[in-house]
């Protein structure tokens, strides 16, 4: 559908309006720093716990529940949820690599701890998992802050 009645000035005003509201959307999507920190600590504790020894299903369930509650709390506080699933092929590839890395860290930690009985393995797996997720959350935060400040045009 085309509309010849739209003047160029009207188009520019509409574009300015789009830009302003998109920036507002990005600004609203910025989560507080405690969100990324808390979530990464929770996951890191889970990784460390499971490579320490076999703790059974309960701690895992509690940590999963904690992660879900944390995400839900973040959404409730900001009133929005950002586009977390990557829209580009590069983004999808990065997510696949991240999942493989975290799975390798999780099961690798369990295997190394049990096979070689190294006491420091749980600490390292927990720290690496926490640090990885914290850096990703900081990257996402910076992305939204930059877009909120500069827009997309």
């Amino acid at each position: 559908m085309t509309d010849p009645n739209i003047s160029s000035d009207e188009a520019r005003d509409a574009l300015d309006s789009v830009e302003t509201l998109q920036r507002s959307g990005f600004r609203r999507a910025v989560k507080p720093r405690w969100f990324g920190l808390g979530l990464s600590l929770l996951v890191g504790i889970g990784f460390a716990l499971y490579s320490l020894e076999d703790p059974g299903n309960l701690p895992g369930l509690l940590i999963c529940l904690g992660v879900v509650l944390f995400i839900s709390l973040g959404r409730t506080q900001t009133g929005v949820s950002g586009n977390t699933f990557p829209g580009t092929a590069r983004g999808v590839l990065a997510m696949i690599v991240l999942i493989i890395f975290l799975l390798a860290l999780f099961f690798g930690g369990i295997y190394v701890r049990r096979a070689y009985e190294l006491a420091w393995v749980p600490v390292v797996t927990g720290l690496v998992a926490s640090l990885t997720l914290f850096l990703i959350s900081e990257g996402e935060r910076r992305y939204y802050l930059t877009r909120a400040a500069n827009g997309t045009r």
Binding site: I6, L21, G82
Partner: protein, 100 residues
């Protein structure tokens, strides 16, 4: 590349603002959208309903502390329509730049 396509449903000022606000988000709460646009509940409801009828917006309801909250997000076709409309606006805006 996005195909430029004027969309009469999206072009109405409030609906364009709603779509633009939702575009970087997965979804947003009704009250947040209302506060950003500075419109009344009834005005926002009317425009969201129009966008839903066009298949551009989807809703989800949840309850927090016993209070019903409504979340709205752009559908895939809504995102596509907005991108096409913005591209059309850019082409029109470019005309004035080239003319002046």
């Amino acid at each position: 590349m996005t195909k430029a396509q004027f969309d009469a449903v999206i072009h109405a000022p409030n609906r364009l603002q709603i779509c633009a606000f939702l575009s970087p988000l997965q979804e947003a709460e009704f009250q947040v959208i209302r506060d950003e646009l500075e419109v009344s509940d009834s005005v926002l409801s009317k425009h969201l309903k129009r966008l839903e009828e066009a298949g551009y917006v989807k809703f989800r309801k949840d309850a927090v502390n016993g209070r019903q909250r409504m979340w709205a997000g752009l559908t895939k076709s809504g995102r596509k329509a907005l991108a096409g409309h913005v591209e059309q606006l850019k082409q029109l805006a470019r005309l004035v730049t080239e003319e002046s």
